[in-house]
Amino acid sequence: MSAARAISTELLRIDAEQETNRLVARIRDLVFHQLRRRGAVVGVSGGIDSSVVASLCARALGKDRVVALLMPETDSAGDSLRLGRLLAESLSIPWALEDISPILRAARCYQRRDEAVRLVAPEYGEGYKCKIVLPGLLDATGYSLFSVVVQAPDGATRNVRLSAPAYLGVVAATNFKQRARKMMEYHYADLLQYAVAGTPNRLEYELGFFVKGGDGAADFKPIAHLYKSQVFQLARHLGIPEEIQRRPPTTDTYSLEQSQEEFYFMLPLEQMDLCLYGRDHGIAAEELAPAAGLDADQVARMYGVIDAKRRAARYLHAPPFLVEEGETTTA
């Protein structure tokens, strides 16, 4: 067997049944014995990650000890709510609908975002839509610069490079969404004495694709060690509805549809999985390249991107620092 065949997506294959059993036992121990909570709250987006986490929690804790929170807002895709309900009903777990748009309006989330967009696209106004994008790895010639895609009511779009104040303004405003959702999840957790389940996969967790104090906050994160393709393997084993399995991963954050690839990862997730695996396991760029469908230079550039994202993620992962360490480490 050649090296190119040895290094392939097969490296990411898992025994889904065995992994499910392991995770179910672990979740049960974490929630009931370590956290001493009666069940779990899962924010369900209609995507694959939260669906797998909700399913694992239902198996681990019992269907009546998991609540799925559906938290759409003004910019959510139309099918997010429908697929979230489909998931909850397929698992026969209780669900609650909490539209977070009023919270976001009160925080002036949309207004702040629009003001930031207008710093670089003054025409942005009523009826316009937008999203932030990075160039794909194959298109990037040097540094990866964020730009905003603005769509006029007549459908005409233009792509404008963001200034630092505009980029930071848009991100700071839209981060209200993840933080409002987490606030609502902890509200239900307090009401029911449940723990909050986090839903990041390995790509998101390791590379910092989450909001500190938002979707980065949770009491346990049961799939944070799994590559995206491994989450899909679990989804098939768990019988997650086909429509959810087929849905392209989205950020569901901006008014224009936005893939995770164009906002953060710069590569299709299957290739990103392999690149992260290669970086994690010390595989040389030229050795990984054939399996990833890239050339060695592109893999080397992605390794650099991974390193940079990891550096940026250190702040996101850091717990609050104490000036003095006491005997207890709890807040």
Binding site: G142, S144, L145, S163, L168, G304
Partner: protein
């Protein structure tokens, strides 16, 4: 009058090293040292535009032009040589 290199160093030290030079040499790579992230690059572009009155195009935003103090100075000299967008009036190259 501060040279361009000195002004760039001051910008980097104040915004990303927080007053510490951390042994940064003019030839050190910002990428390899982990000094600038994607937001930092955007800020650097704006700093160069405001201080030296140049427009940095998307095509020019490359490590070859911006990844060290030395490379930025050389980039500014090339831009000035072409007289594309005027010259620095707050510092000398």
């Amino acid at each position: 009058m501060a040279t361009a290199a000195q002004q760039i160093r001051t910008f980097i030290e104040e915004n990303y090293l927080f007053g510490r030079s951390d042994g940064l040499h003019d030839s050190d790579s910002f990428l390899e040292a982990g000094i600038l992230d994607s937001t930092g690059i955007l800020e650097l572009i704006e700093f160069l535009g405001g201080r030296f009155h140049i427009v940095v195009t998307d095509e020019e935003v490359t490590p070859q032009n911006l990844d060290s103090i030395d490379k930025i100075v050389a980039f500014l000299q090339r831009k000035e040589g072409r007289s594309v967008c005027g010259t620095a009036d707050e510092g000398s190259l």
